[in-house]
Amino acid sequence: MTERKVYSKLGEALAKGEFILTGELEPEKTCDLSHTIQEAKDMAPYVIAANVTDSPLGIVTINSMAASHIIQKEANLEVIWQLTVRDVNKLGIAGMIMGGHALGLRNILSLTGDHTALGDMSESKPVFDLDSATLVKLVREMVDTGAINGHEIKHPPTLHVGAAANPNAEPMEAEILKIGRKAEAGCEFIQTQVVYDLDRTIEFLTEIKKYKVPLLLGIFPMKSYGMAKGFDTFVPGVSVPKNILAKWKGIKTDYSTDKKMQKEAYDQANYEFFKPFITELRKKNLLAGIHCMAVHYPRIFPKLMEIIKS
């Protein structure tokens, strides 16, 4: 293997093997990013970088390349630009990769994207010219060879590219082999879907270890019982364990009169659940870091840092 080149803080930390934390930002259907920028500022002291989503669930939001650029500049936080293959063809995406670099973006997370049929503009044409693996391959071709289809790029982009994995997927073997393809395409890091099932996660991560791609585990600390319940109900394929739901419900009722105490109890409960979970996986040497997908919950980051540092 050739020596790993470094284009971003994320790339540098991964190359050094530092255990890292990344966050997630979800710009909305708006042209004003001040809320997201504030959230980015709040998490900036803790995370090495934050993902900026690309119209999740097919619900249209401000363009993720523009949002990534603005957030990176205004909040002074490195971003991981989520780029789906849903809306733009290969030619358009190649242009965006150059454009993204020119705007200062240095990390891409390659995603398929939720189908247009699911969202609020279902009349749109679903493009899917590339898929998440061939997008990884395209980025690597442009970065490593400085050319597209053999045509030279005058000033080629320099970005890292990662991809997603889903430890909850069933059949798991199909998902594992798919990660193999992404690795072959040149994927430099993986962020997983949210997990709660430790045994399953261990099995999955142990299997994909052979592909030697640094892995950031997706977690979703739950800010409230409503959040936990909502996540359990509305996120397909991921269920929040019953004992967690019961515990969170208990916090909601026990501290209904004291919001401050309630917040502290939720934060503590998250700490108590995720600490052994993460520690166990780290002990087994399966993780390069944590990707925290809880949006609008920056208060949890100091607690997560405690877990990471311990």
Binding site: T112, D114, H115, F128, D129, R181, G237
Partner: protein
């Protein structure tokens, strides 16, 4: 192989006839694919005939042709009702979109002024399970992958037509599109390749589709 069609809403067809100010028309119905889909054939032709007469239209001729989409057959069949065509304001087809265009083509020199209208929506190239159950299993992509995907088409059975699935939208073998009721095409491919002991093919990283030839008008001309 069948070109699968469904009927347009009657009002939409009537609106088109009114829009073209049609009073007299000939009906050409397909006796093959559209007959199977119950959007053409003898019954479809009779249905349109009765309905349009009831609505005050004059029907000059009704024919059921075995190959509306074949210019040669259409030329022959339309010649038989040439007088009726001549006095018609338009031709209504109970076939697929190919059938309608075949008629446009055949009549383009003799009757360039006659509109040819459609009564069906053409859906896809379908596989027949039984009458009334048709499934899109090929999108005629022009470069068949079936030898590498266990005989299951990734383009037609995957909602996103992905070359490297399954995507993150798969839950327990089902697809995110359509409320997790349809099978994920890539899980079908996985199961099939596993059954024939060719998961090596599943593991392979496939390139994106090459649209350079198929992204525009297509023809096969060999003589």
């Amino acid at each position: 192989m069948v070109v699968i069609t469904t009927k347009k809403p009657t009002e939409e067809v009537i609106e088109a006839l009114e829009n073209y100010k049609i009073k007299k028309l000939a009906i050409v119905s397909c006796g093959t694919c559209a007959a199977l889909c119950q959007t053409g054939g003898t019954e479809g032709a009779k249905e349109w005939n009765d309905l349009l007469i009831e609505k005050g239209y004059e029907i000059t001729a009704v024919i059921v042709s075995e190959d509306v989409c074949d210019n040669r057959v259409m030329k022959k069949d339309l010649r038989k009702i040439d007088d009726e065509i001549q006095e018609s304001d338009a031709i209504l087809t109970a076939s697929c979109g190919l059938g309608a265009q075949s008629i446009v083509k055949v009549l383009e020199n003799k009757y360039p002024e006659k509109p040819v209208l459609v009564s069906n929506n053409t859906k896809f190239i379908g596989m027949t399970e039984r009458i009334g159950r048709f499934y899109m299993r090929c999108r005629a992509c022009g470069d068949c992958y079936l030898n590498y995907t266990g005989g299951i088409c990734p383009i037609a059975t995957c909602a996103k037509g992905l070359m490297n699935g399954p995507c993150g939208g798969m839950v327990d073998g089902k697809c995110e599109v359509g409320n997790y009721e349809k099978d994920c095409g890539w899980v079908l491919i996985f199961n099939r390749l596993k059954a024939i002991d060719r998961l090596d093919l599943f593991s392979r990283l496939r390139d994106a589709r090459d649209w350079s030839e198929s992204g525009h008008q297509q023809e096969v001309v060999f003589r």
